[in-house]
Amino acid sequence: MSASVQTKRDVIIRYEDVHKAFGPKVVLAGFNLEVYRGEAFAIMGPSGTGKSVALRHVIGLLKPDRGVVSVDGRNMATIAREELRELRSRMGYVFQEAALLNWLTAGENVALPLRETTRMPDAEIREKVNAKLALVQVPDVYNKMPNELSGGMRKRVGLARALVTDPEIILYDEPTAGLDPEISSSINHLMRDLAQQLHVTSLIVTHHIGCVRTTADRVGLLDGGKLNFVSSPQEFIGSAEPRLVRFLGDKLD
C-alpha cells in the first residue's frame, strides 16, 4: 500500500507521542500509532512491555502523562463524560483475564451491558446473548457461574460480552492466550470475519503469530516504550531485523 493511499484513509485511533510511567517505571515513551477505520492492527511484544497499558488508553481507562490518544478525533483524556459514554458504547474491550463478575452467571455477564445501558426487552436480550455465546463457541454456559468454567471458556464469555453491543471498534487483550490451538484458530477466524464482514476496527494485543497471520492487516512490535517495525504480517515475519528475529525466534516454529 503506497503512502498516498494511506493518508487518504480515515484514522480512527491515533496515539501521538504517548508517554506513560507508573512512579519511576517508564512504560510508554514516545508511542505513536495510527489505526485506520476498518483495519485490524496487532501489537506484539515481550511480556511486561506495556501492551495492555497501551490498549487501556484507547478506552480511557488510563490517561497519558504526555501526548494524546484520540478516538474518532476526540482526545480520550479530555473528552466530556457524555461523549465518552457514547464513544464507549461503540467500543468493545476483551480483557486479558476476562474480568467477569463472579456473582453473575456467564449469560448474565454477557447480558449486563444490554440490561444496564439499553431498554431492550428481556427476551430479546436472552436471544442476543445466546447468539453471541454460540458465536464464540460456548453455547451451553448461560446458567453456569464463572468459577465453574475453565479459563479458556471464561475468556470466550468475556469476548461474547464485548461483542454483545455490536461495537465498531474492538480492543482485544490477548484474545487467544490460554486457548487450545483449535479454539484459538476459530477465534482468529471469528475476529477476521468481524473485521471483514462487519468492518469492525480491531486493535489486537497478542503473543500468537497465528493470530497475527490470520487477523491482522498490519502489525508492530512494542519494545522500549515505542512501537517499531510497523508493517504487514508477511514483512514482519519475514524480516531480517535482528530484534525481530530474536523476538519471533521461539514463536515461528
Binding site: R56, L61, R85, M91, E97, A99, L100, L101, E116, R161
Partner: protein, 259 residues
C-alpha cells in the same frame, strides 16, 4: 508525618465523596431492589448468631459490673433500668456496628478489592455501567437497613442476659427486673410510640451501618494490585470503620442527649 496527614485527608475526602455520590443515587434504590435484597441476606443472616452471642454476654457484663456496685448501696433493684438503657442507647448500636465492621465490612472490602484487582471494575467502567449505583449503593443501603435490625436483636438478648445475672447473682426477681426494664423504656411523652432511648439508638445504628459500608467499599475500590492489595484494603476497611463508628457515635450522642 505530613505525608501521613495528607494520606489521611485524601482517604477521608474519598470516603466523603463516595458517601455523597451514594446519596445522590438514592433515587435508583427501587431499580436496585433485587441487588439490595441479595445484600441484605448476605450481610444480615450470616452474622445473626454472632450478634446474639456477643449481645448476650454484653448484657451479662453490664449487669454484673454495675449490679455488684449497686448492691453495695442496696440499689440492685435498679439493674433492669441500667441494663435496658445502656443496651439501647449505647451498647447495642455500638457492639452491633463493630461486629458488622469486622464481618460485613471486611467482606465488602475483600469483594470489591478483588473486583478492582481483577479488572472487573474496569470492565464495568468501559461498559458505562455506573459502579456506584450498581455495586456501592446496594451494599450501603443493605448495611444501613441491617444494622438497626440486628441492633434490636442485640438489645433484646442483652436485656435477657442482664436478667439472667440479675436473678442468679444479684437476687433480683425476674418480674421485678422486667418491670423495671419496661418502665425505663416507656414512652416519655414524645411524638413517637418508641421511647427516645430506643429510637436514637436505632438511628445511630442506621448511620453506623451506612458509614461502615461506605468506608469498606471505599477501601475495596481503591485496592491496588499485587498480593498485598486486597489484604491491605480489608485491614484498612475494618480499622477505619471502627474509628469512624466511634467518632460518629460521639457526635450523634452529643446531638441527641446534649440538653
Amino acid at each position: 508525618m505530613s505525608s501521613m496527614l495528607s494520606r489521611f485527608f485524601a482517604d477521608v475526602g474519598f470516603q466523603l465523596t463516595l458517601a455523597v455520590q451514594v446519596a445522590a443515587r438514592a433515587g435508583s434504590s427501587w431499580r436496585r431492589r433485587s441487588l439490595i435484597a441479595d445484600q441484605l441476606f448476605q450481610s444480615g443472616i450470616k452474622v445473626v448468631h454472632v450478634v446474639l452471642l456477643v449481645g448476650l454476654f454484653i448484657g451479662m457484663i453490664v449487669a454484673l459490673q454495675t449490679g455488684l456496685e449497686l448492691s453495695r448501696f442496696g440499689q440492685q433493684d435498679q439493674i433492669g433500668t441500667i441494663v435496658a438503657l445502656s443496651m439501647c442507647r449505647e451498647m447495642g448500636p455500638f457492639i452491633t456496628a463493630t461486629i458488622l465492621a469486622a464481618t460485613v465490612g471486611s467482606a465488602l472490602a475483600a469483594e470489591l478489592g478483588t473486583m478492582a484487582v481483577s479488572e472487573e471494575l474496569a470492565a464495568l467502567e468501559v461498559m458505562s455501567i455506573d459502579r456506584i449505583s450498581f455495586l456501592v449503593l446496594p451494599r450501603v443501603l443493605a448495611a444501613a437497613i441491617v444494622c438497626p435490625m440486628l441492633t434490636v436483636l442485640c438489645d433484646a438478648i442483652g436485656i435477657v442476659g442482664g436478667g439472667l445475672i440479675a436473678q442468679s447473682q444479684l437476687n433480683v426477681g425476674m418480674s421485678l427486673y422486667y418491670d423495671s426494664v419496661l418502665e425505663s423504656l416507656n414512652d416519655r411523652g414524645l411524638p413517637f410510640e418508641l421511647p427516645k432511648d430506643v429510637y436514637t439508638g436505632l438511628f445511630k445504628s442506621f448511620v453506623f451501618g451506612g458509614v461502615l459500608a461506605v468506608i469498606s467499599c471505599a477501601a475495596g475500590v481503591q485496592a491496588t494490585s499485587g498480593a498485598m492489595g486486597v489484604g491491605n484494603a480489608t485491614r484498612k476497611a475494618v480499622r477505619d470503620s471502627i474509628i469512624a463508628i466511634i467518632v460518629t457515635n460521639y457526635f450523634l450522642s452529643w446531638m441527641f442527649f446534649n440538653t
